[in-house]
Assembly symmetry: C2
Homo-oligomer: 188 residues x 2
Amino acid sequence: MNLPNALTYSHTLLSEVVGPGATVVDATVGQGHDTIFLANLVGKTGRVIGFDIQQAALDETQQQLQLTGLGQPVELHATGHEHVAEYLTADEPVTAAIFNLGYLPGGDKSVITRPETTLAAVKALLPHLPRGGRIILVVYAGHPGGATERNAVVDFCQALPQKTYQVLRYGFINQVHTPPFLLAIERR
Amino acid sequence: MNLPNALTYSHTLLSEVVGPGATVVDATVGQGHDTIFLANLVGKTGRVIGFDIQQAALDETQQQLQLTGLGQPVELHATGHEHVAEYLTADEPVTAAIFNLGYLPGGDKSVITRPETTLAAVKALLPHLPRGGRIILVVYAGHPGGATERNAVVDFCQALPQKTYQVLRYGFINQVHTPPFLLAIERR
């Protein structure tokens, strides 16, 4: 048993609240790890809404979903996550959403998540969170532009009203190479 | 399921690594909550070494241990935790240690943990940590002197060599009244 890193812990926090039939959002599909993890949790009766602006990433993920037989609950959208509300009905509860900020490993490192669109997506998701619902952000800050996004996201989270939300920060603090840390917004 | 606060999470992190027969340290006995929790984990064949400079706190804890039948593995010392090494043999492994920094709730608020003695105790414990062993600090910073201790402890932890240790920081970031956060030093 070792202390899990931010990425591993994000899956623990998702699995604690997401069950069969839930609607969830993968805001940054990338290589599809979270999409597949979420598809397993929600099962055939659930709904996983995935976003990525890189079509190639979505194509690869779609392939993996077909190979693993997990495609049914998943819809992938080649658009920015700031449009998430367009894919939800007005009062549709979203049990959890996951963001992996930064760039796609192995992809074009100039394509990065950006503070304006990241925060627009988070703000669009907040009204859909039921009590106990969670928005999880795995925050990378080591790349160009990363520190700006980190600061914007942390500032936003620190200002969320504590009567309605609690925001957890989880991460290792003695590592030289800016490891990712995790933010979890939970609706009370 | 709600995100646990620092105090609750400290017990999760202890229970993940402490089992029957282990030697553990409660560096700040106070009301004895951690002492009793640890005594349950290590059982009759384990060893819980507790420290508090306030004799009244130890007396109350001793009473509770007797009432609950958990006294056997516990030894309580009315001295500062910076003397912990004197109660350990040279190569005795300490699976876990817990510090609750600040003052004793309901006690004399001028009696607080202090950065010099807190860090002396942590430094004395580090050589006794086996692989996977954990030193956990629940850090309160809202009282006079608290911010100074918090800064000293965080600085110390950030400088621990990452090849030998990983240090987790866990806490809520959107609460107005300086809630405690947790630091967990784990030997790799």
